[in-house]
């Protein structure tokens, strides 16, 4: 169980022959993910450590029946790689690349949403982009399409995890693991200002997933994604949700590494996020370990 990816997901890697693409392709394969092919324009026809390389996503999809693509293409070509995958009809596209220009992401996200709507209107399964600047996603024991360390995601668990931060995702997964609960699916949505999938997009999937009992949301300062998530939870979720917000002590106007983590005026403050979660009856952990206590308490209710 879990959401978005599983044992049957057939994954292609855009940028497989690059340094990052190669090492993470191997790690995904080790994890047990069905990595079926790579795409590197100009290297079509090559065999790369047993994987066939294609010049285009369309060719790779045609040849392998892939339904997930993970992108390690450098920033200048990353948005184009997203559009290529989306136009080729890949329903799930994960953009790992960090440092993609925001204007490129705005355009790509808008176009992907349009393609998604068109696909659904014509009875298709739609198109979803996750990221960029994200660690990807992993369904424990089934498939990892991302860059997170393998070993903390091996044991299947029943807690869904969504996070804007990469390292905190690992931290939270390890805490849940060590506490004997473990995660069902972990979704790193990314720390950039414009991303393909938000908390509020992922929450309904966990709500519908029989393999998930509760959800942990790792937010941070900046933007209003946490507020939107709280609003969604308040009106739609039956499963318990526990939150954490990082950067609560960060000063306004400073960009904390994540381009998305910046408080502008009254938007994106920890106060606003805490209030929203309170209003939605979502307990917020003050420290990461406290997440475990809150999840336990929520499950025991």
């Amino acid at each position: 169980m879990g959401i978005l990816v599983n044992k049957d997901s057939k994954v292609i890697v855009q940028g497989m022959t690059g340094r990052e693409g190669a090492s993470h392709s191997r790690a995904m394969k080790e994890f047990g993910t069905q990595v079926v092919a790579g795409v590197t324009p100009g290297k079509g026809g090559m065999d790369f450590e047993g994987w066939p390389i294609y010049n285009s996503v369309a060719e790779a999809k045609e040849a392998t029946g892939a339904n997930v693509s993970i992108i390690f293409v450098p920033p200048a070509g990353a948005a184009d790689a997203v559009l290529e995958a989306a136009h080729a009809g890949i329903p799930l596209v994960i953009l790992i690349t960090e440092g993609v220009p925001t204007v490129d992401m705005m355009r790509a996200v808008q176009e992907v949403k349009m393609l998604d709507a068109q696909s659904r209107e014509h009875g298709g399964e739609g198109v979803r982009l996750i990221g960029g600047n994200c660690p990807g996603l992993v369904t424990n024991g089934e498939a990892k399409v991302g860059i997170m360390p393998n070993k903390i995601y091996t044991k299947p668990g029943r807690i869904g995890l969504i996070s804007r931060s990469g390292t905190l995702t690992y931290e939270a997964a390890k805490l849940l693991n060590d506490a004997g609960m473990g995660t069902s699916t972990t979704v790193g949505i990314g720390g950039d200002p414009v991303i393909g999938t938000t908390f509020a997009d992922v929450l309904p999937m966990f709500e519908a997933d029989e393999g998930t009992d509760a959800i942990v949301v790792i937010g941070e300062i900046g933007g209003a994604d946490e507020e939107a998530a709280a609003e969604y939870i308040k009106h739609n979720m039956k499963k318990p949700v526990v939150a954490f917000i990082s950067g609560r002590s960060a000063p306004a106007g400073k960009r904390m590494g994540h381009a998305g983590a910046i408080i502008m005026g009254n938007v994106g403050t920890p106060e606003s996020k805490l209030a929203a979660f309170k209003d939605a009856n979502v307990p917020v952990a003050d420290t990461m370990p406290e997440i475990i206590d809150l999840v336990k308490a929520a499950l025991n209710k």
Partner: protein, 395 residues
């Protein structure tokens, strides 16, 4: 990358925006010469990357060339919030009372996954204040990032904002602002005040322009515009190493970690432990010993820092590489402040072994981030207290 007023104006001019004429001066003599050339009252404006330069005395009306010289003398070399003024922009003065002052701006808005155009008839003042006190006076409009703002949309926004003057010309300026923002990868671009004269013609009197660092590779022509002297020296050094580094005010604990999220949380943890973080430093994923060494070196240079808290959750990052970097800094005499670390994950045991070998009281490892942060805070606060006592003694 933040641009100076004169640089932002130059870009807007390239896109056809009607911008108030002005020239840059580095000496009072140059200021006087420009004022003479204009043959008119001028305004002398400090070019520094901080807000509130007007309140700090960095903007002065100068009715004569001699007065302009005098003001140039005052402003050039002035310290505004820790930054020295090396350049001023000298512009023709405008009779503000003969027109109205508006505000227009484009900002990356994650909530609409695009740019939001903001327009307000309350221009000429700090827009943050307007946003805080009378938010209803700012019109927000999502701009399609593929097509950009179209004239008909700009006219509708201008009407909604209550702008008076030549509707088509004002809308045209908004369209050009949008074109500049999209083509030049702005994160933020503002025209404030947008002055509309008695004839209804709009003129950009002041601008803010900030460019997406991720997009700088396609604006190589602007790379020269990054003026190192106008940024914090440690931030300049950090940018050479490629670190995401932010200097924080009033801190005493240096903080570094692998990933923006973990570093942000580390700041929170230091705060919670009763000390104040002196910086944000993300060494990124998969850092080798050398990178850690450079990070330690950078943070050590900060005289505000009394202790260092290192927080690593290793996935790709190997704990032993982190340990090696810190140890090398110690051996080279660069590290003189206590380091309290938590390094979890890959190669944790090897790291422990390496540190045990060195066995220095300056470097201590803890099983979780709270203990490490608490120790770093304790050390830092003790050192800060001692320093302040010393200061008092010296008086």
């Amino acid at each position: 990358m933040k641009l100076h007023e004169y640089q932002g104006k130059e870009i807007l001019r390239q896109f056809g925006v009607n911008v108030q004429e002005g020239r840059v001066a580095k000496t009072p003599d140059e200021v006087r010469q420009i004022a003479r050339d204009y043959g008119d009252a001028v305004v002398v404006k400090a070019q520094v990357h901080v807000g509130g330069r007007g309140k700090a005395g960095g903007v002065k009306f100068s009715p004569t060339p001699d007065k302009a010289y005098e003001n140039g003398e005052k402003i050039l070399g002035m310290d505004i919030k820790g930054l020295t003024v090396n350049k001023v922009l000298v512009t023709r003065a405008v009779d503000i009372d003969a027109g109205v002052e508006y505000y227009i701006g484009m900002i990356v808005d994650r909530n609409v996954q695009s740019f939001t155009l903001m327009a307000s008839a309350e221009g000429g003042v700090d827009i943050e204040e307007v946003a805080a006190e009378t938010p209803e006076k700012i019109v927000h409009y999502r701009v399609d990032p593929i097509t950009g703002l179209r004239p008909y949309e700009a006219r509708a926004v201008a009407i909604q904002a209550g702008f008076k003057g030549n509707l088509n010309k004002i809308a045209d300026m908004m369209v050009k602002l949008s074109q500049a923002a999209l083509a030049r990868d702005a994160v933020l671009v503002e025209i404030n005040p947008l002055f509309v004269d008695a004839s209804g013609t709009p003129l950009a009197l002041d601008t803010k322009f900030e460019i997406d660092d991720n997009a700088m590779y396609r604006h190589k022509d602007l790379a020269d515009w990054r003026e190192m002297e106008a940024e914090h020296p440690l931030e300049i050094e950090a940018s050479k190493y490629g670190f995401a580094y932010v200097k924080l005010d009033d801190g005493n604990v240096g903080v570094l970690g692998n990933g923006a999220g973990i570093v942000m949380t580390s700041l929170d943890v230091v705060n919670r432990a009763g000390a104040k973080p002196a910086n944000f430093l993300d060494i990124g994923g998969g850092a080798k010993a050398e990178i850690v060494y450079n990070a330690v070196k950078l943070v050590s240079k900060d005289t505000d820092v009394k202790a260092i808290f290192i927080n690593i959750f290793g996935g790709i990052t190997r704990a032993d590489e982190v340990a090696k970097g810190v140890i090398q800094a110690l051996k080279d005499g660069i590290l003189t402040k206590p380091v309290r670390m938590r390094i979890a994950g890959t190669a944790e045991e090897e790291a422990k072994a390496l540190l045990a070998e060195v066995n220095s009281p300056l470097i201590q490892m803890y099983p979780n981030m709270f203990d490490a942060a608490a120790e770093a805070a304790k050390e830092a606060n003790a050192a800060s207290a001692a320093a302040s006592t010393k200061t008092v003694e010296n008086k």
